[in-house]
């Protein structure tokens, strides 16, 4: 029983990282209708920037994180302005491929600046853990879970009550109608990329806190977060969090039970189980569990 509890806690903390990554995807998807494959690159960029500010420049950790979020947000706006603005009206596939190309560019630029080695962020939590009944939790994990919760609530409030948030939803649902109502679609797109960049920097930093550290291969986490995002539905922030938590728990539990009990499935079967779950869900509900069904008109 305590084993299971420990697994659940581990799954939830992994899941909340996925959830944070997914929230970054969802913002861009909601405003522009595109999956941003470069999100992984932004994650790594954010984590390395935190390292730069906190360790190399010696700033307080919180300030370093905020600065990193700001810089990555600006980078997101720059990407939108330089490349994606030209792609308005182009097929989805073309825009996805642009973000994929961008992923390779960002990864190489980051590794050219900071190298290929693992570096620590100099966060105040380190390797400390606390006991919660029979289960042990890292403090860094608690922060991740808490942050995912805060960002989710902030997103909910923003999309629900702020003028900009409503404008963003309007743009997502019908670009032309939104423009006709005086909403600047350009501002909205830039804002979406800025928000997504800031969330990515936060997620990347949290991913690299504690004993984990950051190296360039961290960007692969974004690929592993896809099943979570799809499970929840591409355009639902609540779905992203629920999907993230579900996939996190599934991954941890399958790693604990599947590999010892069914060795013929192979060593790292828990890496592909989320994808299999995702494909199965999509076969039944092609727009995810909480996504909006797209109406196709002839």
């Amino acid at each position: 029983m305590s084993d299971l509890l420990q697994l659940l806690v581990a799954g939830i903390s992994l899941g909340s990282i996925y959830a944070l990554v997914c929230l970054g995807f969802v913002v861009i998807y909601r405003a522009t209708g595109v999956i941003n494959f470069a999100q992984g690159g932004l994650l790594v960029l954010g984590a390395f920037l935190t390292h730069q500010f906190a360790v190399r420049a010696g700033l307080p950790f919180v300030l370093a994180v905020l600065l990193a979020m700001l810089v990555v947000a600006l980078a997101g706006v720059a990407v939108e302005r330089v490349m994606l603005r030209r792609m308005v009206g182009q097929p989805v596939f073309a825009v996805i491929m642009i973000t994929l190309g961008l992923l390779y560019v960002v990864e190489q630029v980051v590794s050219a600046i900071w190298g290929y080695d693992l570096v620590l962020l100099g966060d105040p939590w380190g390797v400390r853990t606390i006991s919660l009944g029979p289960a042990t939790i890292e403090i860094a994990d608690l922060w991740t879970i808490g942050m995912a919760g805060i960002v989710l609530v902030a997103f909910f409030l923003f999309f629900r009550y702020s003028r900009l948030g409503v404008a963003m939803r309007a743009t997502a649902s019908d670009q032309e109608a939104a423009i006709a109502n005086g909403i600047s679609a350009r501002t909205i797109f830039a804002l979406a990329w800025a928000l997504s960049g800031a969330v990515a920097a936060l997620a990347g930093t949290l991913l690299a806190t504690g004993p984990r550290g950051v190296e360039i291969t961290l960007s692969a986490v974004a690929l592993r977060a896809f099943p979570a995002m799809i499970l929840g539905g591409l355009d639902s922030p609540g779905g992203a969090v629920l999907g993230g938590l579900t996939i996190g728990v599934i991954e941890v539990v399958s790693a604990a039970y599947l590999t010892p009990n069914a060795p013929w499935l192979g060593e790292n079967v828990h890496v592909v189980v989320p994808y299999i779950v995702m494909i199965a869900v999509l076969m039944v509900r092609p727009y995810g569990l909480f996504g909006t069904r797209e109406v196709i008109r002839a």
């Binding site: 073309a94 190309g101 900071w114 190298g115 591409l234 592909v272 494909i279």
Partner: protein, 366 residues
């Protein structure tokens, strides 16, 4: 009026648009390519020949992906998986049965087609973003299978391949008569490019006839295609099967030529490389598949050759930062995708068309 007398640009009847060679120039270019294909292996050294062999393999795979993405409009990040399936089929058949060339190539194509046909129905329910992610998921699952099905794939370490390249008395690994023999690279160059040429001809004939038009109708609007009486189910599945059969043949030739395959060869990066070939070459044109494959195989080799003269490129990865040859290639690769999509979304084929047009119309600019 001499300008139009050869009727190179003006098409008068629909039949003109459907011809295999639509203009005089196209015939000339095809003949030049054929002559170059015969002469090149006899004049080039081993290294350029091996690069061109890999370019030929890439051409086959790119034609396959273009049939799916460029002509049918179904996006797939899973192409690398089908290449891998073909390669491992060949590795397995060569090891256990020692089959000759036509049989392992054919079996690989069939295995590829069957897996492709099984994947096809997924595309019926999903579109756009969701299809991209599902194809990514299939690639991940496939990679897991490659890494763990030790009996066939040799697991993480990979597996050596012994697939003989002989048809009857003709052995492409050392073609010739008696003691007068060509080298292995020369032989494989002919083999790979003959197969690539035949498959190109086949694909060209498919896309300019009725099935090809059905695929393009599905790409442009699947609902409208259905209304026109095209069975979307049948053609989507067929497109997946055909595309993966091409990929599997490319993989089979790769395995036979490289003599070793490992799961690392079939990663997401390979899929993206193939998509980049189509984007850079030109989606929805056969010329584009060939140009894109050549371009993306040759450019990294040029960068490697040039990197000795670039002061900021280091040989090995260090913690101090700086960029490696590998890193520079990846960076250029990413930039190529972005630049082509933003500035020339129809690719090299469109540049070639415009250049031709310029000379045909000279001295008028349109």
């Amino acid at each position: 009026m001499r300008l139009f007398s050869r009727n190179t640009r003006m098409t008068i009847r629909y039949e003109d648009d459907l011809r295999l060679f639509r203009s005089y120039t196209a015939r000339v270019v095809a003949l030049i390519a054929l002559a170059a294909g015969i002469i090149l292996p006899l004049t080039l050294g081993d290294f350029p020949l091996s690069v061109l062999c890999y370019a030929g393999i890439a051409t086959i795979g790119a034609i396959g992906l273009n049939l799916l993405v460029g002509y049918t409009g179904q996006v797939s990040l899973g192409h690398a998986f089908f290449l891998g399936a073909g390669a491992y089929t060949t590795a397995y058949l060569g090891r256990t049965l020692g089959l000759p060339l036509p049989l392992w190539l054919g079996t690989s194509a069939i295995v590829g087609a069957v897996i492709g046909a099984l994947i096809g129905p997924f595309a019926l329910r999903l579109r756009g973003n969701y299809l991209v992610i599902v194809s990514l998921g299939l690639l991940m699952v496939g990679q897991h299978v490659f890494e763990n099905w030790d009996a066939v794939t040799g697991g993480l370490t990979g597996v050596p391949v012994r697939a003989s390249a002989s048809i009857g008395l003709l052995d492409f690994a050392a073609p010739g008569v008696g003691s007068a023999r060509l080298t292995r690279n020369q032989g494989y160059f002919y083999l790979i490019w003959i197969v690539a040429g035949l498959l190109l001809l086949g694909a060209k004939n498919i896309v300019r006839t009725r099935p090809g038009r059905a695929l393009q109708a599905i790409r442009d609007r699947d609902l409208a295609a259905e209304v026109l009486g095209i069975s979307v189910f049948k053609y989507k599945v067929a497109a997946f099967a055909l595309s993966s059969a091409y990929a599997a043949m490319a993989g089979a030739l790769y395995a036979s030529y490289a003599r070793y395959v490992s799961p690392l060869d079939w990663s997401l990066f390979l899929s993206i490389q193939y998509i980049a070939m189509i984007i850079v070459g030109g989606a929805g044109t056969m010329l584009g598949s060939v140009l894109g494959a050549l371009f993306l195989t040759l450019v990294p080799r040029f960068v490697e050759a040039l990197s000795g003269y670039l002061p900021f490129v280091s040989r090995s990865a260090g913690s101090a930062g700086g960029i490696t040859v590998f890193g520079l290639n990846q960076l250029l690769f990413g930039l190529l995708i972005i630049v082509f999509l933003v500035f020339e979304p129809r690719g090299l084929a469109e540049i070639w068309r415009r250049t031709k047009l310029y000379f045909t119309m000279w001295p008028f600019s349109y």
